[in-house]
Symmetry: C2
Subunit: 174 residues, 2 copies
């Protein structure tokens, strides 16, 4: 096990600034390109991360700590952001940063100081028994998954432009 | 073709700040983890990006514009950073930011205002004829490849910690 709460928070707390550094002020061509029909562009991924703050991570952690394994926590709609109100990428980045800061406060408050609560278990609707600690670990990796996705989607825009270099650029071949 | 010089620069100019937002001040556990024997950790990837600024992208662009296809440009040592002088990740991030800012100035100066120079060709030691424009495109995607690599390497640290969520986290399965 590599998990450590403060190390997990060190990643969770950096994600909004990382996304803003990468995306804020970028030309629309980068923000709106995707990997084809039914795939998300960078702007939509930020929308999905916002949804996660609102409906997934902290609500589920609170649910585990409150209900234990007695009932499965509600499923998370991974496509909810596609029907959310339109706003600029800039506004979404700000919104994500505000929500994330609040989530981290809630995380600290819910877990408390001894971290023993992270060993508590709940019932995932698809996986069955899960630990609170696994949920928080998954939150960290979920950030990384979507950061990697954004970068991959944007790279694909230059798939043809790089000419013979495509062979050396691992991001096209994973 | 999607390439556009200003859009390419919009990515190249953001990479140092993106890396600093992601990595600056992170616990050593995140900076030093890798994917196993012979693979790079986040700190080493930053070292590799520094090498690229010093020996690869701008020197090769200048070489193409100066020599055309008359002689192949020197091969780039992709492992040079592993024997470079030790310094902190923090210092490397600063160094990369300084070098990148200078590279972008050089890029603008070399290309000039009409961008016709980007259609000039040179001889890559392995690929043969390449365009200056392809080199600059590859530079952009190279940033993205290594940003995705850093994120993937760090995510792997929690491979076991996420428990059953591993199945949903695409970064483990690419």
């Amino acid at each position: 096990m590599n998990f450590n709460l403060e190390e997990a928070i060190s990643i969770l707390s950096r994600t909004p600034q990382t996304l803003a550094s990468l995306l804020s002020g970028l030309p629309e061509g980068w923000l709106r390109c995707n990997e084809g029909e039914g795939t998300w562009n960078a702007d939509e991924v930020v929308g999905h991360l916002i949804e996660g703050e609102q409906s997934n991570w902290i609500p589920r952690l609170a649910f585990i700590l409150r209900e234990g394994e007695s009932k499965p926590f509600p499923a998370f709609d991974r496509f909810a952001h596609l029907s959310a109100a339109e706003r600029t990428t800039e506004r979404k980045l700000e919104e994500f940063a505000e929500l994330r800061a609040r989530s981290i406060e809630r995380l600290r408050a819910l877990v408390g100081t001894d971290e023993v609560s992270l060993e508590r278990t709940g019932t995932h609707p698809a996986f069955g028994t899960v630990k609170a600690r696994e949920l928080v670990s998954a939150w960290v990796v979920h950030d990384m998954t979507h950061l990697a996705q954004i970068v991959r989607v944007m790279a694909l825009r230059y798939r043809t432009d790089v000419g013979p270099w495509a062979e050396y650029l691992g991001i096209f071949n994973r």
